[in-house]
């Protein structure tokens, strides 16, 4: 099932692009991860299952390659190239993360591949794109966040810019690549033509800044730059204090003054019951907003907003994250707790929607709980199909059963180091 059922994808990508193949696989495409005989480098990156450093136990590998099948193939051997051509004949999409120079050295650049297979969608996911002055630059997740303009905005003003604990730029690049690949498949369905889809991680990060926020417009439109403000959100003319401490951690709010509907009243009622509302009970606050005021409203100054935040913060400190969650849902407040992964696994909402799914790992003699896809399609559901492939797991199925290679031929390819 899944809307992309019927497509075969060959995935040659590194960490930057592996999430794209996973998204396609969850949408129903048959994705075959093609690895070098010694295994994909991501297999050597942690965290690991029970901290056991083993090529078949990387949790990062599990996360990025679920629902895919897996074969090994040495692309720089004659035997490997021969098998590759036969595989390409069966596919509609290839995903790569080689620079143009690297792809050309392998004979796997878009022109070479599409000359032989003109109806292929060739999606390239690289740090900076296939051409341009940075085309051969080295990348990592952080250089994408830095050159994309994101890192400048994260962290505290009195310290260096900072990244997130988990890779972000890679996932943004892969997400854009998934949409681009689907667009190219749609075009292929309508016309029969394949094409090159060239995705830049840096540009994927920058595109985020486009909106909401239109952050680059501070420069292009007004000739100024906004900086990082830690847990606060900088709108240029006013700063919201978004991340505020509560009794057992932190909370995050979407502004308290001028919130839509009757939510501010509900918040003040709660605070009043606990005797900490102070002057927020004054009806004047009900019509305050932090943005240019429409009819019947007035625009609060930074000082007035900070005053309201001080009182709000005192109230937050009386409550745990769990209480804040419950109050937010019951009274439609504009504040949620800052959750940890442990909190997410306990969420009744995610549970009701079956966001987390238990996926069998037979060789580990157990199931592992994963996050599934974030959408529910009514006719062709997306979903995790099975765990990520073990190293070379589907060599026999693909090379033997499907392409018809004899057992002897497979053994000799193994002996020659073409597959493993």
């Amino acid at each position: 099932m899944g809307p992309l059922e019927g497509y075969r994808v060959l995935d040659f990508t590194g960490e930057i692009g592996q999430y794209c193949g996973k998204l396609l696989a969850e949408m129903g495409a048959e994705v075959i991860k093609v690895e070098p005989p010694e295994g994909d480098p991501v297999r050597r990156l942690g965290p690991f299952y029970l901290d056991e450093r083993d090529a078949n136990k990387s949790l990062r590998w599990f996360t990025l390659n679920g629902s895919k099948r897996g074969v090994t193939l040495a692309l720089d051997t004659t035997g490997g190239r021969d098998l590759l051509e036969r595989l390409l004949d069966t596919a509609q999409v290839v995903l790569t993360s080689w620079t143009r120079r690297e792809a050309e050295a392998l004979g796997m650049d878009e022109r070479a591949v599409r000359q032989r297979h003109p109806d292929l969608v060739y999606t390239s996911i690289t740090g900076y794109g296939l051409d341009g002055p940075y085309a051969d630059y080295r990348w990592c997740d952080m250089t994408g966040l830095a050159l994309g303009g994101f890192m400048f905005l994260t962290g505290d003003a009195d310290r260096p810019p900072v990244v997130f604990r988990a890779p972000q730029a890679y996932l943004n690049a892969s997400g854009q690549a998934a949409t681009g690949t689907a667009l190219a498949l749609f075009h292929r369905t309508r016309t029969g033509n394949g094409q090159l889809v060239d995705v830049s991680m840096q540009e994927a990060v920058t595109y985020n800044l486009n909106g909401p926020g239109s952050i680059v417009s501070w420069w292009s439109g007004l000739g100024m730059n906004i900086g990082r403000q830690g847990g606060s959100l900088n709108f240029g003319h006013i700063i919201w204090r978004v991340m505020l401490p509560c009794k057992d951690g932190y909370s995050a709010n979407s502004g308290i003054l001028g919130s839509v509907g009757g939510r501010f009243q509900a918040l003040v009622d709660l605070m009043e019951k606990e005797g900490v509302a102070e002057d927020l009970t004054d009806p004047k606050w009900l019509t305050a907003t932090t943005f240019p005021a429409g009819p019947g409203h007035w625009q609060a100054s930074q000082e007035e907003l900070d005053h309201a935040y001080d009182i709000f913060e005192n109230w937050l400190k009386l409550h745990t994250k769990a209480e804040i969650m419950e109050l937010a849902v019951r009274h439609d407040l504009q504040v949620y707790p800052v959750n940890t992964t442990a909190d997410l696994l306990e969420s009744p909402q995610l549970d009701a929607r079956a966001y987390f799914v238990d996926v069998p790992h037979p060789e580990l003699d157990r199931s592992i709980r994963y996050a599934g896809p974030p959408y529910k399609l009514s006719l062709t559901p997306a979903g995790m199909r099975h765990r990520a492939p073990l190293l070379g797991e589907h060599n026999q199925a693909v090379y033997g059963d499907e392409l018809g290679l004899s057992r002897e031929r497979i053994e000799s390819l193994k002996a020659d180091g073409v597959i493993s």
Binding site: R138, T154, Q202, A371, L379
Partner: protein, 419 residues
Amino acid sequence: MTQAMDFRDALQGINVVDFSWIGAGPLTAQWLANFGATVVKVEHPQHYDLLRTSPPFKDGKFGINTSYYFAACNSNKYGITLDLNKPKGRALAHKLVRWADVLVENFMPGTMKRWGLDYESARALNQRLIMISLSIQGQTGPHANSAGFGPMLMGLAGIGHLGGWPDRAPGCATVPYPDWVSPLFASFAIVSALDYRERTGEGQYIDLSQYEATAQFLGPAILDYTVNGRVWERAGNLLIDSDRPYAAPHGAYPTKGADRWCAVAVFNDDEWRRLVDLMGNPDWAADSRFESHDARCLHTEELDQRFGQWTAGFDAPRLMRMLQDRGIAAGVVHDQQGVYEDPQLNARRHFQHLDHPEMGRYHVELPATHLTATPATMRKASPTIGGDNDHVYKTVLGLSQEEYDQLIAEEVIGYWEGD
């Protein structure tokens, strides 16, 4: 396969009715517009898209039609006003649903039903329709009706917990991540569904939860908890794979000028040797704390301090080039000016410009996914409120002048007329 048409745009001929507002919904519809779909954005004449009141504004002064923020999310769309609370307004909305291939909305669950625009009703009007709802927590479940906006969702989805310094509050509030990433998933799901429809004739409904979309970005943190019981915390700029860093140096290092930084990452001994050579083999680099990759990963604080003293002597772009020339991953930490002037982004023509009737020339941005045969194009400035009423009602929906005038007189098609 449609042989007769030459599709210059990937979504040529696809019609989208966009009932959404604020960030995630409008950006989703804009993805489709950028690749050639015809998108009609529907706004209530008085309760218009709140982004119209969000800075930055042209010349720093509020104007209903001059928010760069609104423009960034709505370029390439046609904009109409329509009062869905009036029966004749709903009848017009139904005409739009019949016209559309895709419907996008991000209201509170239940809102569309009140207008007779929930999926069951919409499907009765148009069997082939693909409809997507992008609410905060999805259409089902005990918290489905909890409304909210991006900043608080940063907390809910757990990503806020992972951005910043371990001894400080989460430090990532300037980036409304949920609104940024939900459109990626939404546009992917819509286009996948369009392809399925093209192959089978069947439309369908997509229920996207922004909470779940944002939580995707926790990556391996989920499994490290469900398998190993490890709860990830903020770690500053340390690149940690489970319990230890695996790159050093790794972080933003000071360069010449105020608040100017260069991100540098060194992953192994080879790269380190090239770096030490570039630094002119300083004595400190021979210290036993820095002699192997594993040792450096255990002494990141001292290493950062020493290395930062060296980087501070260079301009950030020059430092990046010097390091990249030696095969070391490095990137200027761009502010907005840096991004706008970046040579690589400009080589990819990321920034385009459109002329707006009230804002004048303003910049818009191309997606990072370059389809070489059917590229994204920027064709139309974002709509002034009700700015395309004439065109959409008369040309697209085929109303006569009399019908149109009558609907205006009855304030079904309202015009915003100031305070």
